[in-house]
Symmetry: C2
Subunit: 295 residues, 2 copies
Amino acid sequence: MTILDGKKISNQIKDEIATEVSRMKERGEKVPHLAAVIVGNDGASLTYVGSKVRACERVGFESTLIRLPNTTSEVELLKTIKDLNENDDIDGFIVQLPLPPQIDTQQVLMAIDADKDVDGFHPTNFGKMALDMSTFIPATPFGILELLDRYSVETKGKHTVVIGRSHIVGRPMSILMGRKGFPGNSTVTLTHSHTKNITQITSQADIIISALGVPNFLKAEMVKDDAVIIDVGISRVPDDTKEKGYCICGDVDFENVSKKASYITPVPGGVGPMTIAMLLKNTLLARERHRANNK
Amino acid sequence: MTILDGKKISNQIKDEIATEVSRMKERGEKVPHLAAVIVGNDGASLTYVGSKVRACERVGFESTLIRLPNTTSEVELLKTIKDLNENDDIDGFIVQLPLPPQIDTQQVLMAIDADKDVDGFHPTNFGKMALDMSTFIPATPFGILELLDRYSVETKGKHTVVIGRSHIVGRPMSILMGRKGFPGNSTVTLTHSHTKNITQITSQADIIISALGVPNFLKAEMVKDDAVIIDVGISRVPDDTKEKGYCICGDVDFENVSKKASYITPVPGGVGPMTIAMLLKNTLLARERHRANNK
């Protein structure tokens, strides 16, 4: 059994990006600039955004954090997005989700210039992904592809079962694993809340990607020998033995499933760290595209 | 066993659209106007486009057929598309595929105004579909949804197996059947040329949608009792007993599979006729959206 070590791989990727940024500086080129917009004071969101800004600093990117109050109107947020779209110094930006209820998330995501949409959530980018065109792939699915790639996990002709059909993980993952190329060329089954006989389906899978958010959902008896297990779940579970009073738990019963798996991602330290690394990679890509357009 | 009669249902839909167009005329409103662009002299393409123009006439739409020579350059075709984009009288238009080799199909599809893209092939529309937003659904998948809807075929919690991952049928179908709502909420498996043990997979399916283009591919032993069978294949097979010297053959061994199926589409007369009906429906939708925008 091999651990798919997202922490290690994400550090490798960040080192590679930092090297590339150093070269850009040596050549006197503008370095990538990521902006992040956060509305309100949600603790988890502030933590995520803070991690993204620190990751930018680590690799040598410029970064801008725009904090707006929880009472921000949709019109005000759209104005901020318009400014970022038109600001040639910004290569890519993200709007941290979730947004407060007075703001229509769909309208906001639609307003982002697709060429700066490094989260890959804009319909144009999502459609390009589904139609095998070059685009920004959403960071979490992109990170999973990268893990499979760096560990040379065979995907062609394998049966991949994806659990959960969210727009940011399950659905794009199901599309990506069935595309031509590597990683890809899998036979893909997408399962969700209406799926019957989930055990019957997962127990046939060569690769399981679980993005459900239910702690310890995937048990050993649901998995066949030598399966590849990708755990995207991140749940806080009360745990008095921890200083914080909780532990971070994945969808997978790691202790037992890992005994049967050929490859498995831990939680934490698996898919999670890859997400930020791939956001940086998308921002680097955005910079390269903007340079090609003389911006 | 019930035949999913695409010919009958498509005629119903055309009648419904014709009634709606009559009401538009009575109210003194502009009627929908579809334009079709065809490059070259491919016989099958001319036949398809001709059917689309006749269907427009039947329901009372205006239609414009633009025929360009086989030697048309990409720049010339893009100019034609730009004119159609800017022509307020045109509500929607299609560019008949395939295009001659000197033209990059992707560039052409990208150039079509997404609001006039009644084929639903533009990445923005494809992405909206995958993200559960309102859009133009590609006509063939849309027609399959409509057949399932009109015959009240249960899809929720059923296991749907899609055979073939083309951009115009297999991939969108796999996405649509897994979306929330009806028809949808299926557990969906997308299979393709790299899929192993296809029989093992199809024999577990409650619903099979085959878009492979291999005559008589799906045999009775690959199908479980009471399965729903949707045959998207259209192949010409030499047949001396026919006046034309060939017959139109689907992917499904209809004679034997129909004995096990609960519902099945014939070929011809199943999915085929639905495609044009749904193109008209998308054009009507385009007209309604343009009216809402005062165009």
